[in-house]
């Protein structure tokens, strides 16, 4: 259990293109506040953009829960994208690079997984999908004293 009792989680709706822009901004800001570097921020925001768009396009809308994790050795950010849509019947196939059931590039799920440290999909046909990702800010290791 790493979720900090002090950090404030936030829940944002995903129901339109404008919501996606808002989610990206909020994720970027939360990551920046936790000390994520520019590259890490960009990766996490891009993963969030992919997953939020899946929630909107494939899941028919939903929300994202943004939870800062600051009780572990390094600060982290957990994002849970939740929808009550059709679910993913064949998850292995959906996770394959290039597989799309629509006209996308089919890189959202598989690409997002590569952009974060922890990736988990909970999906039930007919009930919905929750994709949870976590990224940890790299902490610069303290300089080791000489021999």
């Amino acid at each position: 259990m790493r979720a900090s009792r002090h950090a404030a989680p936030a829940s944002l709706p995903i129901g339109s293109d404008a919501d996606l822009a808002w989610v990206r901004q909020q994720v970027r800001q939360a990551a920046a506040e936790l000390g994520f570097g520019l590259v890490q921020q960009t990766k996490l925001v891009t993963a969030a953009s992919e997953l939020a768009r899946n929630t909107l396009v494939h899941g028919g809308g939903g929300h994202v829960e943004i939870t800062p994790l600051d009780s572990g050795p390094a600060p982290g950010l957990r994002l849970a994208f939740v929808d009550a849509g059709p679910g993913i019947r064949d998850l292995d196939r959906a996770m394959t690079d290039g597989y799309t059931s629509g006209g996308g590039l089919g890189l959202g799920l598989s690409g997002a997984k590569r952009l974060v440290q922890e990736f988990e999909v909970d999906t039930r046909p007919g009930e919905g999908t929750t994709v949870t990702v976590t990224a940890w800010a790299t902490v610069v290791p303290p300089a080791r004293p000489g021999p």
Binding site: A8, K43, G104, L105
Partner: protein, 303 residues
């Protein structure tokens, strides 16, 4: 000054931090309001009189005290915020009219935290004692929630405005610039959603025809996020330009974005890219046999 200690259900030794923060905000409301009146958010909105700024600060502090008293530190729906939601919305809108974007506004609200935390720390004989730390953390959470409440007012109050601005952005933010004979460029700024991408593609193709352009530069320096949809739009635009007989160059892919694109699995291998708009222009010119060279002058190294 010592914080009063009383027995509560949750903690037999001391009041829960939220209650202590609430009591502090009541007790020190005036000082808090005075400090906030000098912070950018209040100072720039209430330009006519400082008293107005202080008054606004008092009501925000009172609202926060109510939210903390209810123990709903992280709840943007806490009833305590209702009293100031409109006021905060007007302040946010006022900042917006002065050209402050949501990021800037968020920073300004965040800047309210330090003065009030300083005051809170000063209440404890030992600001590093666990009890003090707990209270500061509780206040930090509360101030984070205040920020979300303020930002939310800009979203809900501005839905209509946003829709209008988006329309304008579609039209305004996609100027196609003629850089040289046969060379046009679009500096893309902001979010490339589907509607925007469509506009960009159309105006670029129109310009290619109108200017008889052989080279088209898409500069994405101002695009904050390149995900698979944006990449797909870029590739479609490049392909369409090619069909019109123009070679497309994508410039301004920043290092962080380049790394992200690669990890995402997007193959931009078929797309001609250059680091900057200047590099892209130099490429287009050299392909047309135009060379850029410094003028020969007698005064060496003078700028």
């Amino acid at each position: 000054m010592q914080v009063s200690v009383s027995v509560s259900e949750e903690n037999a030794e001391q009041e829960p931090p939220a209650q202590q923060v609430s009591a502090f905000l009541e007790r020190r409301r005036e000082q808090v309001a005075q400090r906030w009146a000098d912070a950018a958010l209040f100072r720039t909105v209430f330009t006519v009189s400082r008293d107005e700024a202080v008054e606004a600060g008092r009501s925000v502090a009172a609202a926060l005290a109510a939210v903390a008293a209810a123990g709903r530190l992280d709840d943007i729906r806490a009833p305590g915020f209702e009293a100031v939601r409109d006021q905060l919305g007007r302040m946010a809108a006022s900042r917006g009219r002065m050209g402050i974007d949501t990021d800037g506004l968020a920073d300004e609200v965040a800047a309210l935290r330090e003065p009030v935390t300083d005051l809170l720390r000063a209440e404890f004989p030992d600001p590093n004692a666990p009890e003090a730390q707990e209270c500061v953390l509780a206040l930090t959470v509360l101030m984070g929630t205040l920020r979300l409440v303020v930002l939310e007012t800009t979203v809900s109050a501005g839905e209509e405005v946003i829709a209008r601005q988006r329309e304008q952005l579609h039209e305004v933010a996609t100027p196609v610039i003629k850089l040289w004979e046969s060379t046009v460029a679009v500096p893309l700024i902001g979010t490339l959603d589907s509607a925007r991408s469509q506009t960009v593609m159309e105006s670029l193709l129109d310009a290619i025809v109108a200017e008889r352009a052989r080279y088209a530069i898409l500069d994405i320096t101002g695009v904050p996020t390149v995900d698979s949809l944006v990449a797909q739009h870029l590739m479609k635009t490049v392909a369409a330009a090619r069909l019109m007989g123009a070679e497309c160059i994508v410039s301004g892919i920043r290092p962080a974005i380049a790394q992200t694109i690669v990890q995402l699995g997007i193959d931009l291998g078929t797309v001609l890219t250059r680091a900057s708009l200047a590099d892209a222009l130099a490429y287009a010119l050299s392909r047309q046999g135009v060379e850029i060279a410094p003028l020969r002058t007698d005064s060496a190294g003078v700028r």
